[in-house]
Symmetry: C2
Subunit: 144 residues, 2 copies
């Protein structure tokens, strides 16, 4: 299996764009942990390592990362998107508490079947899905 950087290089080449050390640094940092990330947090993580990369560079890279299938939007919260990397990692869905915001991740194989069904029924080339189940967690459901 190719590394994330190799996938990105292939994508960039195919699109006739240019790769840069900044982009490779950002991608390396995204894949350095298994967690979700958002732009600001990623920016601070880079700064903490004295890697001076501007926020616009991150913002400008994200559409390419989405398009190349390395990451996807996970959920929109607190006024900004939270992303997850999907290349080389199992995609997961989210169960979230409407009150405290606490999030549980879970796997759901049934959705692959649904993806295939949708692909056939609507003639789409399906690339993925985003599922959020919401409600109240054990602690919060007592107080509503």
């Amino acid at each position: 299996m190719r590394s994330e950087i190799e996938v990105f290089r292939g994508f960039i080449r195919k699109k006739g764009l240019r790769n840069t050390p900044e982009r490779e640094t950002i991608i390396a940092e995204i894949f350095a942990t298994h967690d979700h990330f958002d732009v600001d947090e990623l920016y601070l993580r880079l700064r903490a390592q004295k890697k001076k990369i501007s926020k616009p560079s991150i913002y400008r890279l994200i559409p390419y990362l989405l398009e190349s299938g390395l990451i996807q939007e996970a959920y929109f919260e607190d006024g900004h998107w939270h992303y997850e990397h999907i290349y080389g990692h199992e995609h997961h869905c989210h169960l979230r508490c409407l009150k405290c915001g606490n999030t549980v991740e879970f796997q759901e194989k049934a959705l692959h079947k649904l993806e295939r069904k949708m692909a056939e029924k609507y003639d789409f080339l399906v690339k993925g899905h985003k599922l959020e189940v919401f409600g109240y967690c054990p602690k919060c459901k007592v107080h509503i």
Copy 2:
């Protein structure tokens, strides 16, 4: 089945808040169509009917509408949330094209089973879900 306004009145009373004609006007307009809506579009619809309601009043109402279960977030696009009303209407999921943004709505009963499964497994009081399947539509998939 109680009307949306009645549900909202009950919610407001229970929370010790106050109802106003502005709020009832907004709710009536939301439920006047079966379509999704966003704040700006709703605001313009109200203006077109000479109903002078400010945007902050809409923004301030939305958390209550979410909490009372009258509406839910459908998807975040073009820099803002799009909502759907769920009280008295069948919830639906979305199949969206990553290229042209075209969206197809579909029903999926299997997700109710999943909701029950999550409720039991994680001891959540599940209130709903949001599912987006994405990929490329028949027209766009030819050109990627």
